[in-house]
Assembly symmetry: C2
Homo-oligomer: 156 residues x 2
DNA sequence: GTTTCTGCTGGGCAATCTGTTCAGCAGTAC
DNA sequence: GTACTGCTGAACAGATTGCCCAGCAGAAAC
């Protein structure tokens, strides 16, 4: 599960040039192809690398508005609320957090006006007591993992 | 920028089997290879598909704890705070949101105890007035985009 | 009506990569 | 000293990629 320096370099390389092949990878890393192959396989079966799904930009799809909503859930309704939210395409992510029955979800919408529709759909469900929404204005640090990978790789 | 049904199927297919090649893709979709190639290129230059970076699981790297922190920023210190947070590897994501000088960031840590260290590092910076943290317990809906892609593809 | 564009098809070619297998070698554990 | 593990370097057939081309159909422009 621990990652060594070579693993770190593999992830770094894949992050920079995702469509790179194993052969080219082994050349860049200065190791045999079999080694690169084996490491990559191991990282994947380890679960360190979950996959290589395409990163789709919601904004480019026509959903430029992002918001985070904190939901307060009525006791015992958690499961229902989760199921409800899973059916809303604009809910990109949902977490349950510490605090009594709180959830945090990431929403997208076509516009600020459209966000209202989305929120209505989200909270229009029994079991949600209260919702407070924060609209994202800027995203100075987009979701990233590289610095963490580097840190994890150093610690070897 | 609008996505049609074929584009939608391409993204779906890539999400399911990311390492699939263009040739195999064209076979599955029942179109000529050139078409699949052209569509994929267009999706990428459109920015709809940002890339195919490896999805790394922080938990597998030894950071199983996730938390969201809401930060209250002193007026005019925004830029400094952003720069500060960008240097912390455990900060995976940072957004500025509506509300006076508020930011929302996603953190990971090695343990609940370690989270304290991370938070200290995050808030140990002039310009951050107050921080409130919510620890993630469950993640019923992991970051997803497929339902939204399907919805966008339908609307054609 | 006719011309021009654009997007898709289907095919071909050389260069490259993948999956797989093999033998050798060094460091480590027992 | 023996077994094990991880890495190297090499080989091979089969598949894929990047690239190019000609034909065709529908839409838009003239």
């Amino acid at each position: 599960m621990a990652i060594d320096h070579l693993d770190g370099r593999i992830i770094l390389l894949l992050a920079r040039e995702p469509r790179i092949g194993v052969l080219e990878m082994s050349r860049r890393l200065g190791v045999a192809r079999g080694t690169a192959q084996a490491r990559l396989d191991r990282l994947q079966s380890n679960g360190v690398i979950r996959g290589f799904g395409p990163e789709v930009d919601p904004a480019a799809l026509g959903y430029p508005v992002t918001a985070f909503a904190t939901l307060q859930i009525r006791q015992g309704q958690g499961a229902d609320v989760r199921a409800h939210l899973a059916t809303v395409p604009e809910v990109l992510e949902l977490h349950t957090t510490t605090g009594s029955g709180d959830m945090l979800c990431r929403l997208v919408a076509r516009s600020n006006a459209d966000l209202q529709r989305v929120i209505d759909r989200v909270v229009g469900f029994d079991g949600i007591v209260r919702a407070s929404t924060a609209i994202v204005m800027e995203n100075p640090v987009p979701l990233r993992i590289i610095p963490l990978v580097e840190q994890a790789a150093e610690e070897t």
